[in-house]
Each structure stands twice: as C-alpha cells, then as structure tokens.
Amino acid sequence: MNTQILSLVFKRLLVAIVTLLIVSFAVFFATEMLPGDVAEILLGQAATPEAVAGLRTAMHLNDPAILRFIRWLYGLATGDLGISYANNMPISHLIGGRFVNSLKLAAVTALFSVPIALTLGITAAMLRGSLYDRIVTTITIAVISVPEFMVATSAVLIFAVYLKWLPALSFANEVHSFGELLRVFAMPVITLSFVISAQMIRMTRAAVVETLNTPYVEMALLKGASRRRMVLKHALPNALGPIVNAIALSLSYLLGGVIIVETIFNYPGIAKLMVDAVATRDLPLIQTCAMIFCLAYLFLITLADIIAILSNPRLR
C-alpha cells in the first residue's frame, strides 16, 4: 500500500461524495417542481386561505428554496428524515422495516446469482467455442431479451397457479423457518437472478476471454500449466476490474430497479414504498427513497472502483 493508491482511493471517495451532493440537489428540486402546493394538498377540503398560510409558515414553505434544501440536507445527515405528509409518521419508521426487507431480498438474490453467474461466465470463457459456451451465450441473450415482468408473471402462472408449489405473494414478515424462507423468496429471487445474472455472465465471459488471449496466458500454457491454473492464476486476477464493475452495476439494480418484481409479488420492499409515496404525493418519503437508491448505487460503484484500483499491480 503506498501513497499513490491512498490518494487514488481518496480521490474516488471524494468524487462519490460530490456526486451524492449533486444528486441530492437534483432530487430535492425535482420534487419541489412537482405541480401543486404542498399545504393545499395536505389540507385538502379544509384549505381555507388562512389555514394554508398558517401551514406554509409552520412548514417553513415560505423560506427560500436553497434554505430549505440546506435544512433538508442537514436533517438527512443527522438522521432526521422528516415526517411523512400522508400519515404523519416519521419517515424512518416507514422505511425501516421496508429497507430491511429489500436488503434481505437483495442479499439472497446476490448470494445465489453472483456465484452462479461467475461460474457460468468463467467456464464459458474457458470452453470458448464449445457447445457448452454456445448454449450459455444463447440462453443469456434470451434472458436479457425477455422483460422481467414476463419472467415474473410466467413464474407466477407456472409455479403458483398451475403447479401450486409456491405462494403467489411474498410476505417476508411471515418467515419462521428456512423452508418458509425458500418458499417465500423463491420466485422473486429467481426472477431477479434471471435479470441480473445475464449481464454478469456476459461481462465475466468477455473479460476472461480477453485476458485468455494475452501472451502471458499463452506463456503459462507453454510452461505446462493446466487449463484451470491458466484461468484461475493468470487470467482471472487480471480480469478482476471489469468483472467487479459488472457485478456492482448488476447488484445496484437490486435496490432501485426491483419495483416490477416487488409489485407483482406484492413484496413489501422499499421500491414499492416509493411508488406508493408518489401516488400519495408524499414528498419527504419520495426524497428519502431516492436518496437511499442513489446511496446504494454509489456505494457499490465506488466499492467496485476501489477494488479495481487495489487489484492493479502497477499501483502496488
């Protein structure tokens, strides 16, 4: 570990923080620009001019936007996420359980799909041009091309309606045993794995194939190395950067992009919460959800970049 690495990692973190600030700015002002006056919406039928004016003052809505932005940002930083407009509960209460649910689903999906995708990608690269490679490649392309709602509804139709093996809806809160966990998570996990694995398989295969074509892998072959050794010792360490990035990009989808899956399986996750918040014009909730998605995305991408920096021997 030398100063060059430290400074690179530090720079990367700085970029992440600046990005986060810019995004928070965009999120705040985008929600501000939504049509309709918040006070009027909240008061609904009781919106007399006096009541509206009173509420506006109470909610600091008359302050300049930039001031409200800074106050909001300060609240976020100190853990005060605000009060939901829709049901007057603290946002943190609303999000808490949902966020854990989403994380659970993401974790289970990642646990399944990452090892499977890496194995498929690497073995396809090793056996490039073989029947196995062609089958894997064709299937991944097919999976990429099929939209996830199609996969999800087909899964419901087959496993829940015809075969009646699995429940059509997933209530994560009712899980008490491992068997139940499998039953509840099976369909959403399968659907999500389909969506995110395909990309990872393709990227892994491409990265490994590229390094397998390098002279140093040929050199390993001419030293008498086995195929396994060539791939694991020589090709893979040098393909790590792009692979980690592909994984990070795919996983980031698991938090923000799962709305369709959560809706179809009625899974109580955070993406569904956000969509409900949009329906009820619950601005603080929308803002917080957006910030959580952004944070998760940035966290994964930054982590991938840092791993790529650390795995580059030229910087060691």
Binding site: A220, H234, N238
Partner: protein, 554 residues
C-alpha cells in the same frame, strides 16, 4: 551425437477468417542434435514461429498440425495427449517469448512466475527453486539477483525482462530452449548483453536451442546451423559459416544482400548545398510531455535544446535508442507537438509551432510518413481515396485529373494500378508503406519526415523501400529526415547522421565518420554494438565497460 529432435514432413494448417484452410507450413523436415543451436530465419509469415511452437506440441488458435511428426526425445509431440505434452513443457522443452514484457503476468511477482514451472511440475521444493532462480539471475548477469524476483514485471526494464524470461525457461532444466525473436524488441546496446548472457548459459549447460529471428547478423553470433525459411518451406539448411559465406539458394543470397546496403553518395555536394538557404532549421527546441510546471515547461522533457540544419536535396538521419526523443523531434517539426521553446524554420521562414497555425502551402511542403503503415491508413477507405485525399485538399483536384494523378503516384511507388480499389487490409506490409509514401508524395512536398518507416518491415522489403526513396529523390529533388534506430538503414540513405541520446543531439557527422575514434563516446558505443555478419564478432567484441555503464539503461 544423437538427435534430440527429428521433424519429418511437418505440415500445419490455418483457418482464415473466411473459413478457408491454408497450409502455412508445407512439409518441413530437419533435425536438432543434443546441445546444438539451430536458427530459423525468414521474413514475417514464413512460419518460423509456428514451426518452433510445434516443438512444444502447440499450435496457436486457428492452426493445427495436419501431417508429419515432431519427434522430441522419441516422443511425437504432434500425436501424444495434451496432458503428456503439458508434462513436457517447461521440463524438457521451454520457450523464451519475443516480447517478455507481454509474456509476464502483470499481477504476479517475477519470482512467482519464474518458479512456476517447478510448482506446476512439482520438480523441487519451492525454497530450492527460489535459490536456483537467484543462481540463474546471477548467471544471466542481472543486477540485484537476490531481490529482483520480488519486483513486479512493470518495475524492471525490457532487457532485464528478456533475461528474466530466459531464467523462467531454464529453471526446469530443459533439454531444448526455443528463443522466439528474443532480442528484436531491444535496443542494440542492450541486445549485446542479452545475447551474451544467453550464449554463455546455453554453452555452459549444454542445452540445445531453436533460435527464431529475422536478423542474420544476430543469428550468426549464436547458431551452429541456420535454416532459411520462406512461405512455410525450407529454402536452405547449412552450418552458419556455410550460409554466410557460400549461400546456395537465391533467397538466402537476397537476404544477405539486403543486409549489406550499398553506401550512399548524395548527388548534391555539400559545397553546393551550403550556398543555398537551408530547407529545414531547428533552433534550440525544448519539448516534452505531461502536466506543465509553474514555468510552463512540461514535467517530462523529451527534447532538451536540439539544433538541426538540413540543406535542400540532402538527407539527414536521426538515430538513437528508444526513448531518446527522436520521434518527438519529428512531431515537433511536423507541428503535431508544439515545443515549449525554440523554433522550426522551413525554407528560411519560421513556421508556427502548432500545425493549425501553418498555412496550407507550408503544410503541403512538409509531409510525414509514420512507422506503422497499418495504423496510419484508414482501414475503411480504398487506396485511391487515401491517395486522392491530399490531391483534393492541397491541389483542389477532382474527377479525371485526380484519377490520372493517383495512377501516376502509384506508378511512382511501384504499385500496380489495380490496387486502387482495394482496402489497406488487403495489402502486405511493404505495399502499405508504399501507399503511405504515395500519400505523402501526392502533396508534392519538398521535405518528407520518415519516422522509422522501415522498422516494421522485413529486411528485403525494407531494402526495396530504401531504394525507392533514393529513386524518388533523384527524380523529384526531395529531402528526407530519416528517423531510425537502425544504423545500417540510416547509413544507406543519409548524407549526415545526427546521434541523439536522452533528448539531446550528442553528435552530427557524415556516415563515413561513424564509429571513428574521435567521435562522441555514445555514437562510438552505438556503432560498435551493431551486430556484424561475422560469427566471431560477439566473442571478439570488447566494449569499454565504463562507456557501457555510462550510457546503458540496464
């Protein structure tokens, strides 16, 4: 002596992109005795590397050994299973690659890769392998043999990597080592050290070798026998002395002939020329790369105050090793890289530092031809588009005029007119370089900057390009600035040679004065390092160790 290797009627097929099968090795047979070094020599595409790799039972992707046998210690490498081949690789027969820089895995330490052969084949305990590796580093005259193994490949120089890759090959105690152009990517002064190290280790251990190269002079120093190849067929086999002194096959004679270019005599005498205004003058040019320092100077200086002068109709050669700034100088003259200070005068007028500030006529008179013809030609355009572009740009030619002029230009560079409608990928390396020249000529320049234009070409093809340049000069009265690391090429065409070292011009002299005792020490070192066709040259060569130390990047 028993034969270690017997190759009989070897044929290798390759599949082209279009799916056709082409025979690239057409029935090659030869033997290698134990402890003997056989050189495979020929131009690119002659199949020398392909043959060498069959000794390890390996054919590159798309290729396949289709017929014949490769007996190595009584085992047919072409017929045995992949597993038994793998067990021979590294232990019985080992490989030293052309570019060691690419053949080392960037993610592992050098030691880890050098002893990998011992690890794969479980030859010895790892500690013993490490001790052995350090011994080999010492035998190969590497600096800091005890610690160099713990570095990563990017932390050592090219010459060192090449010797380290030899250590990697020798660790398994092989009977035969394949050297695949191991010194081609090195500078001449480095090449000598590497050749010497190889030769002494091979002789001491009595290891047999296959030395693949296109350079007869290098091969003459190390090989016992030479095999001359062309188009996948053996042209001639003989002892080194016989091939060099009494070649039988016309192709061998051609190769030898290309090696000794006739020395150049300018048709413009120095006395005549000095009375005229110099066509090119470079004054105190300082240039470099990287972020600018507070005084506006770049962090990495590639040129430190260079002065040059060239008279109309004469040629200036610029030689030096990689990294000495010779290509940067060409970029400064062409206006691609504006210098930090100094000026470039053309025909008595000062040129703008940046090509964008030069008039169209100034641009026209000064053309540049690049080293890699492949990358300098737009692969999506036809030859007539490529050559016709400057005609339209500088002379506003169109239609029939332009077509006629393109034909003329192709005639000038001795290319058949039928090539007009082809694309660059359908041409050979030499043909592409001719197209490059035709494009420069289309502008009707007075001066052409030739940046290593023959370096990527085979000897015979390069000699033909040099002849073409001379012919064009006689007809059109051009001047050339000829940049190269290859002394013999520069000697063949230049009236004056400027020697560059570490961003400075250390000497300028006529070719005849090269290597004389009163010249600059570095040019003396450079000149003495160029291999000669004499097989005894390397052993008899004595270099002033102080000189080597002073100018060597080892």
């Amino acid at each position: 002596m028993a034969n270690l290797v017997e190759i009989r009627d070897l044929k290798v097929e390759a599949k082209t992109d279009s799916g056709r099968t082409v025979e690239i090795i057409r029935g090659v047979s030869f033997d290698i005795a134990e402890g003997e070094i056989v050189a495979l020599i020929g131009e690119s595409g002659s199949g020398k590397t392909t043959i060498a790799l069959t000794l390890m039972g390996y054919a590159r992707a798309g290729c396949r050994i289709s017929k014949g046998s490769v007996l190595f210690a009584d085992k047919d490498m072409a017929a045995i299973s992949e597993k038994s081949r793998a067990s021979m690789r590294g232990t019985k027969v080992a490989y030293v690659p052309q570019s060691a820089a690419a053949a080392f895995n960037p993610a592992q330490t050098i030691m880890e890769q050098v002893i990998e052969v011992a690890r794969i084949h479980k030859l010895m305990p790892m500690d013993e392998a490490r001790v052995r590796a350090v011994d080999l580093f010492r035998a190969l005259a590497l600096p800091n043999p005890d610690t160099i193994g713990s570095r990563y490949p990017h932390q050592v120089s090219g010459g060192q990597l090449q010797r380290l890759s030899a250590a990697m090959a020798l660790i398994g105690n092989p009977k035969l080592v394949i050297f695949d152009e191991p010194t081609t990517a090195l500078d001449v002064t480095t090449q000598i050290e590497v050749l010497r190290a190889f030769k002494s280790v091979m002789k001491k251990k009595g290891i047999g070798g296959v030395y693949v190269s296109h350079d007869l002079a290098v091969v003459a120093q190390i090989a016992d026998r030479i095999l001359v190849l062309k188009n996948g067929e053996v042209q001639e086999i003989g002892t080194t002395a016989q091939i060099l002194s009494a070649p039988k096959h016309p192709y061998t004679r051609e190769l030898l002939g290309a090696f000794k270019p006739a020395s150049y005599a300018s048709h413009v005498k120095a006395a005549d020329a000095s009375s005229k205004v110099p066509i090119l003058e470079v004054h105190d040019v300082v240039a470099g790369y990287g972020p600018l320092k507070s005084n506006g100077q770049p962090t990495i200086l590639a040129l430190k105050s260079v002065n040059l002068k060239l008279e109309q109709g004469r040629n200036l050669g610029i030689i030096g090793e990689s990294g000495c700034g010779k290509s940067t100088l060409a970029r400064v003259i062409a206006g691609i890289l504006p210098p930090f200070s100094g000026s470039v005068c053309f025909d008595g007028k000062e040129l703008s530092a940046d090509a964008r500030g030069r008039t169209r006529d100034e641009l026209r008179k000064l053309q540049i031809v690049f080293q890699f013809a492949d990358t300098a030609l737009n692969p999506a355009k036809s030859i007539s588009d490529i050559v016709g572009r400057p005609l339209a740009f500088y002379h506003g030619m169109g239609g029939g005029d332009r077509e006629a002029r393109i034909d003329q230009l192709l005639d000038m560079v001795h290319l058949p007119r039928a090539l007009k409608h082809r694309q660059p990928s359908e041409l050979s390396g030499g043909q592409k370089q001719r197209v490059n020249l035709a494009r420069a000529l289309a502008a009707e320049p007075q001066l052409i900057l030739c940046d290593e234009i023959t370096s990527a070409l085979d000897t015979v093809v390069a000699a033909a390009i040099i002849d073409l340049l001379k012919e064009l000069q006689r007809e059109l009265g051009l001047s050339y600035v000829f940049i190269s690391h290859d002394l013999s090429v520069v000697q063949a065409i230049c009236d004056e040679i400027a020697v560059m070292y570490a961003g400075e011009k250390v000497a300028q002299m006529p070719p005849s004065a090269m290597g004389s005792q009163d010249s600059h020490p570095y040019s003396r070192l450079l000149f003495s390092s160029v291999p000669k066709l004499d097989p005894a040259w390397l052993d008899s060569l004595e270099r002033d160790p102080e000189l080597v130390r002073a100018f060597s990047k080892l």
